[in-house]
Subunit: 342 residues, 4 copies
């Protein structure tokens, strides 16, 4: 059983059904009747007027957002462990034409107004240093923590004071919302977020993420950047259809809730091993190599995150029945090894 | 009935079936068992060792190829009517970091060694001018003409003599091969092509094109560029599966042959109206606005290409029965209007 | 005697003197007392508030201006024979991060509202084509013609209507002004120019050009771009001093007038050979290879511009006494050969 | 008396004299007889065949070198306090088209094989992370320490093993050599350096730095990049002349030795205040705000580097007589305050 990554999970049935339904001739690119619905559907979901674009990957969503918020000679503050810094092969630099990521710290890959301010205050206000133009936060974070509306609002206030745009990488936005139970608006535009990468792929989609602009003026140039990056697929209706299928009947919430519940099951099996609280669908556990080998010998697959630490990710389609054996195996390991960290 | 663009056609059944079959957990990105087959499958098809990458759009395939062949300070010779010049919103400049497209001429959007040499010879060999590094040709061309192996080989020889890389935009490569009847190898690497954008989307695919490197050394850096551009989709197996499904049993050839046959049917209806010979699935006809309006009133949809000229594109799934009414309507228009060209 | 290029002329005495005078310790970069005067001095010259930056080359001035006026996904309309297209090795593409130069036509390398409109109208207003954001004209043009205030104003009006920024490459702006006799304001901001590359190097300077922003809001980001391009020299006072020395006592006008007068002398020697009217310091003459060889045998050096055509450029320091022998030698050639054009 | 920066010092007499001597007509750009000597003169100095280009700034030299060593999708390892990271406004990212600087640590801004290896080992070898392609070290470092030949060779060996190019930012290379007393070759190519930014401006030049390629194959494309960046000044002979004047009679060594001696004088005044050993012309002293204010009241100017720490830089033209008063004033401050560090 794989707990390696939600990236690799299967696609959920409503998405496949919607793609089959879209399998008829329509206008190319985003001129079709599915794509045409995105603005309205997301405006309804977010209780405000937004512009919503499909893109085929989370990296694309993130980097189009950053390019909209930061000029080539600017910088984006992000966490040292952010996906945009570590896992996108320099895509932010490519899309922004060489803007700099300036790294800030915080436990659980979560930024705070203080850690952001510290990063900002380290920059001299002269032409010799790259000046900050935006902040990017990830919700849920790379370690599975959800920013609350209050936490985002505090950062949003700082951004507003300092003239910075605020981007949210929501590759696991659905998991964050499922945990928080708040309105999607609360943790985004009401808290100062200008652009959101709203992830669907990890949550049961196939190849479509939504890039949401709460600052709708940013959308116009992004349409050109999307095309210019080879991201404007000619049969875009199959992407729009995926997203719409997950909005219909709140499939996105249900899938995320299921994955979160699975993670909670694993967390409950070894509370003393948890490196971080489990709020989304990721579980980071302290585990010796021998223990990890033992679990693998039982057929469980997962990621060695760091020395003495493993990552388990639960996907939308992993049932309690499928997860329980792993939970039991973890519980059977006994007490956690000593904390190994730097 | 739409004859607007093959870009907008439905996806063919084997592709949908393959995607459904791929709907199981596997390794993310291109670590899955479908992606792993591409090199071998295309090596077999092309009778030589190639490297083959899936990408989600033709623009992406073209521009990754150009970035592999041309440095930021170089230029790519292409036809004035090439898709990379006119229809990709500057994607070549984005991917190459500012290389220049240098435009050459030729009837039917087809380059010749002579027109390429004329473009090359207009460049002073000094640091004040952008020096040529590559040539890009489109097969079938934007006007539906196929380069023969001999024509490509003549260009390939020139490229070799001048130290230029040769790229082929094969958005309708299948249609060209269906027309030429030659081995895919003949019109590509045997004729000097280093990289091919092998199109599947217009020919019945959904969201996967293949980028083929005959010069396999070019593939390595391209893997990083693909990721860096947000093109490395996490559930890549659904893209690989599309391509494999079209290679299986030569679906790609059958689809292209069907579309070409449909175009031939239309061409036969009005030989005196043809702006170009019909070799692939595109038909350019001289037609007055009144005539075009008449056809539209009958329910036929197509593109006004230029004053007095329309473009009809036949898709893989348009049957003879569906096409014949249009052919009859065209034939019924009577003799062609006078040629209107600049 | 060289009539090859004003690029290679000596530096005029007031410039050298000013540089010697600046040879004392002051604040680095542009924090010195010379650099601090530029805004005011150019504001006075142009009779309006401007922002003025020194840069070490005309290419740098041009391309910083273009980067201020055109986003990476946009295009700049310029003449097919413009320096930015032909002689800057892709610097516009480098500085703009891949914007496109869209080429327009016009005799003498001069654009008109009509030729610009023709270029604009060839662009479909959709995301598949690179949209125009700016126009760049050269005054005096690459063929030594001066745009009059009325000509620039007509272009300025078009730019204003179409939402385009207007840049003037004034590598030989001084020569244009010396010919026109108008106020510098008339042919720039009063006619809609947003940014001017004001050349000093060809006109007796050493290594300093002025980039003038009439649209002063464009200056701020340019300060960062200048630094980021390695153009913010640490001992900037020597550049500022050069420019101030040429503004003092209107040295820039006197130098340009002298060069123009020299060119007029040559033009008068062979009015039937002139390819273009001589308005600045460049003279293009029809001349057979044998005739050109004859002149070279007499010790005159110049550029073979095109088959049957040579270019003579007079520099600020070439006296009438030095020029007259060439004028006489040209006159002695007799009547012009037949026009040779392609 | 200013001890703020050697960036702001006057130009030394031989340089001015050489510029005056160059004030005659010659071929433009780098076709003149001064520029033509650079390869040979630096090849002699470095005892091996090199390619040497003038550029107008140290940032330009550094970033052209980095662009030659690192592709857009790569990274350069440098010290956290390196000039390229902190003081060039993202010029490395601009010139490399978005490569990443990956930061390593070490006291005195000096890298070691161990600190570089630690940075390298933090990078997963997959397409999701930006892979290292080069290392850049600064000699003398930003804190005035000189890398010895053995130290550079140890880094060079690591670079060679890992397939990385090695760049040396030698903005104060002369000061390093004056301290080390070794052959310039020893601390550069003999130790694995592929490209050197050889600084002249801080050491008595005006506007010319030399970019030296020991890996001569890197020079060719750099010629295009230099032009493309607007750095190929048309009257390049004045830059070449500056450099040649400083090579003649070893002016560069004498100037650097003088500055180093001045720094040593200051260091000797307060050995207990030194934050770093003084090896070049920079002196970092622990100093309370009150003490610093006292010195300033006496007419001395310098940089507040960090809380409780000031930087004094001695320039080539500051005589012992000019420096001694500051040395005495520092000595008169009495014992150093407690170390203040974060």
């Amino acid at each position: 059983m794989r707990f390696f990554s939600d990236n690799a999970a299967a696609v959920c049935p409503p998405v496949l059904a919607a793609m089959a339904e879209a399998n008829t001739l329509d206008t190319a690119y985003d001129g079709d009747r599915w794509s045409a619905q995105l603005d309205d559907r997301f405006s309804a979901l977010f209780e405000t007027e937004v512009r919503a674009l499909w893109v085929p990957s989370g990296t694309a969503a993130n980097c189009l957002a950053l390019a909209a918020l930061c000029p080539p000679h600017g910088s984006v503050i992000c966490h040292r462990d952010a996906h945009i810094e570590n896992d996108e092969c320099g895509a932010p630099e490519f899309y922004t034409h060489g803007a700099k990521l300036r790294l800030a710290d915080g436990p659980g890959a979560k930024l705070t107004p203080e850690s952001i301010a510290a990063a900002l205050d380290g920059v001299r206000d002269d032409v010799h240093q790259v000046q900050p133009h935006a902040v990017s936060i990830t919700n849920a974070t790379e370690y599975g923590l959800a920013y609350t509306p209050a936490e985002v609002a505090a950062i949003g206030t700082l951004c507003s004071e300092r003239g910075l745009g605020l981007h949210m990488d929501g590759a696991r936005f659905a998991n964050a919302i499922a945990h928080l139970g708040c309105a999607p608006a609360d943790v985004t535009w009401r808290s100062g977020v200008a652009a959101l990468s709203f992830g669907f792929v990890k949550n049961g989609g196939m190849s479509a993420e939504a890039l949401i602009f709460f600052d709708t003026a940013l959308a116009e140039a992004t349409l050109y950047r999307r095309k210019r990056a080879g991201l404007l697929l000619s049969k875009g209706r199959y992407l729009a259809a995926q997203i719409l299928a997950m909005l219909d009947g709140d499939v996105w919430r249900a899938n995320a809730a299921a994955a979160n519940a699975g993670a909670a099951l694993l967390a409950a099996a070894a509370p003393d091993r948890l490196v971080y609280p489990v709020e989304a669908n990721e579980v980071f556990l302290r585990m010796s190599p021998a223990e990890a080998a033992g679990l693998r010998a039982l057929g469980f697959d997962f990621y060695d995150w760091a020395p003495g630490e493993v990552r388990l990710v639960v996907s939308w389609d992993q049932t309690e029945a499928a997860i329980r054996p792993l939970a039991q195996a973890i519980a059977a390991l006994g007490p956690s090894p000593q904390l190994v960290t730097s």
